[in-house]
Amino acid sequence: MKKREIDTSVRQAFSKVVPDVLDAVLLDCKQQEGKVIVLSENTVKRPMTKKIIGIAAAFVVVFAAIMGYMVYSQNYKIASTISLDVNPSIEIFVNQKEKVLDVRANNEDGKTVIGDMDFKGNSLDITVNALIGSMLKNGYINELANSILVSVDTQDPQQSAQLQQKLTDEINTLLQTNTFSGAVLSQTIQQDESLQQLADQYGITLGKAQLINQIIEKNALYTFADLVPLSINELNLLSESGGSQLENVSSVGTASDKAYIGRESAMQIAFEDAGVSQSDVQKLEIEMDYEYGVMVYEIEFDVNGMEYDYDINATTGEILKNQQKQDDDSWFNQNTQTSGSGQSGQNSSQTSQGTTQGNYIGRESAQQIALEHAGVAESSLRQMEIELDEEHGVMVYEVDFEAGGYEYSYDIDATTGQVLKYDKEWED
């Protein structure tokens, strides 16, 4: 039984057990379309309670003043939460008058930033100022990673927008240093229970969870868990790389890519590896991406009808992936080093089919080697399948054939022609 037959029988069997839920899908799509607006009304109930509490609090204020209590004890109600994420993650809780009620660190770096400063009763401005100062001093925001995420959570949308703008301007000014400028991402938190659960689960702020969620919506190839460990600077680079602006997030400044080798160098590495000169390159695309657990430059370009696809480690410049293909059906990894002149020779041998690759021995030879090894004459062959494949980092020709009631399966090293593996089975 061949792989292809297994493929076919698996496909047939599973296709037959697919339940038909199309009607339910269509119905739900139509229904939810009308519901979309309703969902965002979740927050409406809050202002009501806020008003009541506001009135109650006002009474308390009058009372407190009369009783001669301290001014600071006026209002303990948290009116807004502001979270700052860099890699240190800090939440600031303020009351209606923007006096700080509490400052909490969400991670170890956050604790370092706060140190033994006590912000209770201070104004929000002073607190933010001190925190940003400490982040700069401790080197959390620097030339290499200059991005900060500001998330504002207030019941009143108008107040939210104002606060968001005010903080963005202020932090942006603070980050205009002699050596670099900062990049500020800011957003207003939309209450979302499932997102809050995710944030709690991963121990990150709701703000960061919301940012990650938006990046995933733009690019479905990332998963939430993938992006959690990334810093805001890295997330900012990814969102800039997507080309389109994230909704609900406003962005000032540009994320620093100085920690990385830079687009230009990444491009040169790819061109050099491919043995092509920049002038021949068409349809060049470079994006920053997060793959294999590291930041990479994803570089795609065409030369003479060949498509090249590179992933370059953005920190080290190491080539993580290099592929060339002529069309969708004949791609292959090129593991061997090719010089510029070798490349042109290779191109000419790869005519329309892309079946023989310059540095490999070719299908013909692979077949010969396998037949010779098996002691089978070409005339007695039934069914012959040859596939170029990568196995344990080595390119091999997989040669499968049947002869004299046996099924043979060979792996032939595509570069050296050595028989790496063979298998002979009696056919039923």
Binding site: M1, K3, I6, D7, T8, S9, V10, R11, Q12, A13, F14, S15, K16, V17, V18, P19, D20, V21, L22, A24, V25, L26, D28, C29, K30, Q32, E33, I216, E217, K218, N219, A220, L221, T223, F224, D226, Q323, W331, N333, D389, E390, E391, H392, G393, D428
Partner: protein, 191 residues
């Protein structure tokens, strides 16, 4: 003119250009395009969900939720010639959510799964054998790889990308799974 065949028809057509076109129309709220996409891709999504969740009811939920999500997310889809990878990634995220909710415990025993399928009309003996061997005797990863290859028409490198595995890992697991299936199916046919 687009021709709709029955939903259970032999489903191999995952031509990226066609699916891309579907998604673009879905972005303009075209429910016919959604139906066409469903016809082309539902088998792959369902099989993949089943391979992760090992529970027909949950897989059916994910199939439903996946296409509802696609309907609303199609506007954000960027043409990258990888519509199937996009669909499968959405399905995978939904599966992970489901697994998280269930705390990875409540799998249906496979005997029960197989029982469900015994009653299903149109299933031949060979089909039942294939379903049973795939669900019972392959590891989770092997099953995911085999099903993505067979139903989503993914190439090995695409499988590697979607599942977050290295290419050589996918290749060797795929080969091993095929060998296992080959032996099991031959044995099953004989008995």
């Amino acid at each position: 003119m687009i021709c709709l065949t029955s939903p259970n028809a032999f489903n191999q057509d995952t031509d990226p250009a066609l699916l891309d076109a579907c998604l673009q129309k879905i972005a303009q709220d075209d429910s016919d395009a959604l139906a066409l996409l469903y016809e082309k891709a539902s088998a792959a999504v369902y099989a993949f969900a089943l391979s992760m969740l090992k529970n027909t009811q949950d897989a059916q939920d994910v199939l439903h939720d996946c296409f509802v999500s696609v309907y609303f997310a199609a506007k954000n889809y960027q043409t990258r010639q990888k519509p199937m990878a996009w669909l499968i990634t959405i399905a995978r995220n939904l599966c992970l959510k489901k697994l998280h909710e269930k705390n990875r415990t409540a799998d249906t025993p496979f005997e029960e799964l197989a029982q469900n399928w015994q009653e299903q009309p149109g299933l031949g003996a060979q089909d039942k054998l294939v379903l049973q061997e795939c669900m019972c005797h392959l590891s989770d990863e092997e099953r995911q790889i085999v099903l993505l290859h067979a139903l989503a028409g993914f190439k090995h490198r695409e499988i590697a990308q979607v599942l977050g595995l290295k290419l050589p890992t996918v290749l060797s697991k795929y080969n091993r799974a095929c060998q296992k299936l080959r032996k099991l199916l031959l044995k099953g046919e004989r008995s």
